[in-house]
């Protein structure tokens, strides 16, 4: 158990002392995953709404793509995004490889299908007649959509949780497109891998604790929103 106690003491000291490199890693993680989740929600919820509520040619195929996307291996995403952004790739001229935007793109590709598919399932569970009822009381198309999303709010909270969960702990794709550059693209997961390889368990455990704490706080937050929505629905 000595190894844990030593690592815990070292890690705690590092966090309390405000060691710049550790806090930079945490900040980069929050920035990259925060922007990726936000983009996934902005794009995924409307996409889920359309998939869940509208009937159009190709809808079934898009649902299959979204559902398959939920099980997309992050390393495959990392590989494809890396190839697209590499010097010889179609977007090589943007020079994004090994940058935070590249990591955001990779995480977005991972989270977007998750958010879209879970949102679509939540929206499709709202009866079509409820939307017709809103229309019949004078709702515009926009107000009808807003009502639908409000009715599906429990499922949408689950979509946020699933989207966040799919990327915050992800390590393969961000390593491949971010390169794990210290102070620039090193995030908590890649740093934990690196410190562990070096046998430097203190900072690895400190970052793991912060990562776990972050996941816990976000999920407590989402659960409390869900509980208050549940109370409202009862």
């Amino acid at each position: 158990m000595g190894i844990f106690i030593d690592a815990f003491r070292d890690g705690l000291a590092m966090l309390v002392s405000g060691a710049t490199d550790v806090w930079t890693i945490i900040l980069v993680s929050v920035q990259v995953s925060g922007v990726a989740v936000l983009l996934a929600l902005v794009l995924g919820i409307p996409a889920g709404f359309v998939l869940g509520s509208k009937r159009f040619i190709g809808r079934r195929m898009m649902l299959v793509i979204a559902n398959t996307g939920m099980g997309l291996p992050p390393v495959v995403v990392g590989l494809v995004v890396a190839m697209l952004l590499s010097r010889r790739g179609p977007f090589g001229n943007l020079e994004l490889l090994y940058s935070q935007p590249a990591m955001v793109i990779a995480q977005l590709v991972i989270a977007l299908p998750v958010v879209a598919a879970v949102s679509a399932a939540a929206v499709s569970a709202v009866p079509r007649e409820l939307r017709l009822q809103a229309r019949s009381l004078g709702a515009s198309r926009f107000q009808e959509a807003f009502m639908t999303l409000k009715e599906a709010r429990m499922g949408l909270i689950a979509a946020v949780a699933a989207g966040f969960g799919s990327i915050i702990s992800e390590v393969g794709a961000v390593t491949m497109v971010g390169g794990n550059l210290a102070g620039k693209t090193r995030v908590m997961t890649t740093a934990i891998v690196q410190y562990t390889r070096m046998g430097d368990y203190g900072p690895a455990l400190a970052l793991a604790a912060v990562l776990m704490g972050m996941v816990l706080v976000v999920n407590i937050l989402l659960t409390s929103v869900q509980s208050s929505a549940e109370r409202y629905e009862r």
């Binding site: 007649e129 409820l130 017709l132 009822q133 229309r135 019949s136 004078g138 629905e233 009862r234």
Partner: protein, 361 residues
Amino acid sequence: MNPAAITVEGVLRSFRGKTAVDVERLELRPGRTLALLGPSGSGKSTLLSIIGLLERPDTGRVLLDGAVVTPRDTAARLSMAAAFQRPYLFKGTIADNVAYGLRLRRVPASRVAALVSESLARVGLPGWESRSALTLSGGEAQRVALARAIVLEPRVLLLDEPLASLDPLMKWRLARDFDSILRQSSITTLYVTHDQDEALTVADDVAIMREGRVVASGPVDEVFGLPVDEWTAGFLGMEPAIRGRVVEVADGVAGIDCDGVMLYAVAAVKPGEAVALGVRPEDVLLFEADVEIPISSARNHFEATVTEIVASGATFRVVIERGSVRIAARISRASLADLKLAVGVPVRALFKATAVRVAST
């Protein structure tokens, strides 16, 4: 007469090549309740959707107070409100539900609470504002759905089979309440139902639909009293109209010869005129054939033979015939037993001249 609140002209709507609605003309008169009556699949709900601007017809038009309106016409849509077979309440409190349309119309928050309370009181749920909308019984939920619609004071209220999913007891209690609420509010109402008793309870006018077409329309007494054809008669549980010729008119009462049976009706007709007659089964009394009928206000009585007995819910529909005169009476199980009725049994029928509907042919 006031112009119609709603006029439907030449409306045609098809789904996958099958005509769902084909209505040449239909009017909803202001302040009245029109029951759109017909069997399942006759196009009633589709016509309601078109009138409610929830659906666009393939051809034809809908006029609101004389002006053509479409689903894109926001002002027209905001002047209507609907409640459907299932109440479809939104998650949240009853107050949230009733206030939904008011908020869409940007009614000041200070007025919303008062209007919601008033509307809930009108449907018999005073003080229910803060209860959850998802824990109500079917009847309570339907009352909330009605409150949510009438709180908007719509120009036209659309009710699509609002009582169809309720148990019979709740259904009749609510039908009577709906009737009184609609009469007090004087809202022009389109009431879709497949149940003629419900239509009789709530409606002033009725339009009967069959395979997308309106086959009969007019005031309830007229349409229900004298079926225009065999199908309509069958749907209303009546016999087809009896043919006859007016032989005398005295003090507003016409004596009509129907193949040797003299029937009397209060009608504005002239001697020699060929007419069609009808009488509601509920208005016909049956007696044993050999009983002496005392002098009464019922002008029509004659002997006939029972030709058909059909159970219809809790009552029986007994068809009697004499020559070409064929009418139906609606009687209880107890009366059927007391009279020992069976096919071939002679009976005496009695009904008032005011119960007979007459139309020139």
